[in-house]
Amino acid sequence: MSDVAPAPRNGRRVDVDGVWKAYAKGIFVVRDVSFVLNPGEFLTLLGPSGSGKTTTLMMIAGFETPSRGRIRVDGRDIAADPPDRRNFGIVFQGYALFPHMSVLDNVAFPLRMKGVGMRARQRRAAEMLEKVELGALASRRPHQLSSGQQQRVALARALIFAPDALLLDEPLGALDRKLREQLQSEIKAIQRRVGVSVLLVTHDQDEAMSMSDRIAVMADGEILQIGSPADVYLHPATPFVAGFLGETNLLPGTCRGVEDGHVVVEFRNGELGRARIPRFGSRPAAGDPVLASIRPERMRILRADEAADSCMEGRVVSCAFLGRHARYVIDAGHHVVVVTTAWSETAALAAGTPVRLGWLSEDAQSLLDRDGRA
């Protein structure tokens, strides 16, 4: 009982160190994953399904055993602890509230498991429910609540025993977009109020961008890049990261060397262009296959008198009106390029119109095309 502090703590440092996981011999679903969850930090494991992010979370929670590697909390290896002896608050997809218990009993459950007496745990559960503004619904059953309220109960239940960290396993995965955005800000607000560290697993890049202090992008069991949302968006380390976070044009070509601090790329249509040297990924050398990543909102359709650092000729294939902006698909010979521009009815370009595309060197990111994964 002494280990249940009444006041919320900021969580502990969780160290995931060189963790591998294989379900069958030699087939790894998690490969050499390492990261640190710092006290009070909001870290997101972002990746498509099958990228190993949930398996990683479940190994931290204790429901899966790593094949190799260590997981430490404040320096102590927790490999031998079963899930109920680890001190993580977990929120599952669908929330997994106990259907036969009242909201109050759900929130008091962790304290009951720790041997806190009936009165003390009910009082503290009621306090916790006040914190998430559900005090009035304490005697309801979970199925009588909206999904937003259920999420708050799940958070209250996961936070009441002052966990070392909060682990969120796609908690918003099954909800519609509008509700999801609302609940994202709720999670964020509660996290700030309590000051707990959070490890979120999601496949939704908007969710990751809007909530996280840092994002670890995962694919095929590996962490490809870990950094702030701005870093991974603006300075992707691999073509996959560039494509997974937001839409991008990945134009294949060959590196023709470095000039004035920029990589010179020869594209398949023979034109030359410039792009930034990668800040985080491998630096391409002359002769290497590379991809230039240019976001649709950074690619421009040039007027006759306009100039840009790099240019490319093309022809409009289609134009779609998306409300705030227009989305053009342009055939630039060997490359199909997507461009979004501010919508203007008079300037709308018909299919077949020849155009000149251009971009600033600072808006293009060169990426080593190591295995053609784009």
């Binding site: 109920d84 106990f98 459950f109």
Partner: protein, 273 residues
Amino acid sequence: MAPSDLTATPAPRRLGRGLLFVACAPILVLLVVPSLIIVPMALTKGNLIQFPPIWISVHSFADYLGDPNWVDSTLLSFKVSALAVTIGGFTGGAAAIAMHGRLFPGRNLVSGLILSPIVVPVIVLALGDYLLLAPLQLIGSWVAIAALHAMLVTPYVFISVQTSLAVGLSTALVRSARSLGAGRLAVLRFVYWPAIRPGLLAGAALGFAVSFDEVVLALFMQGATTVTLPVRMFTAIEYDLTPKIAASASLFIALAVLGLLVQGLGARGRGAA
């Protein structure tokens, strides 16, 4: 079905329902009438079970309740069924929990083995059990009858608990309890128990019915003081055709109706929860 639904039903649907009723009615009659015909037969004035009865007397009920042999058999049947359901509820429930969400080699074999008492002809079971238990001097033991009945009850409980678990229990629920500090026993109590309770009750009720009117095993295992009610009825039909048979059969029907009522109320309670 609300009346407004019926008025809103288009004509072809109504015709379909009518045809369905016409097709089902004879089957319903065939199923129910033989069960119900036994009740008037118990009200005969005569000393033989017959149809139509000689109206009207309740002496068969008085005879039935006044005959210590018949009363003992009735009490024995309750005792045997209660023990059988207790054992079968435990084994069937435990098996369903143990196999829930687990994949292991031979899983289908194990589950087939648990279900086999439903499939294997009871007469084969009875003969095998007789040959096995006779040398052990267990023929005539009511506990032995209950144990064999428990084997019949187990698959019913197993199936209905399995269904309850599939509906009411997810891996996330178990994992969430574990992460909140629940050890294995606490998970059993707070997660599994509420989830299996409806299935356990339904399976136990069905199992009780199966055990209470089981005649073949009980016939093979009977001793001088361990004649269950169905066995006594069976013997009486062979020898004296007393209307006590009809009187005790009416008891069976009353029990069945009670069981259906309990189940119906239970289902309604679950629906409201």
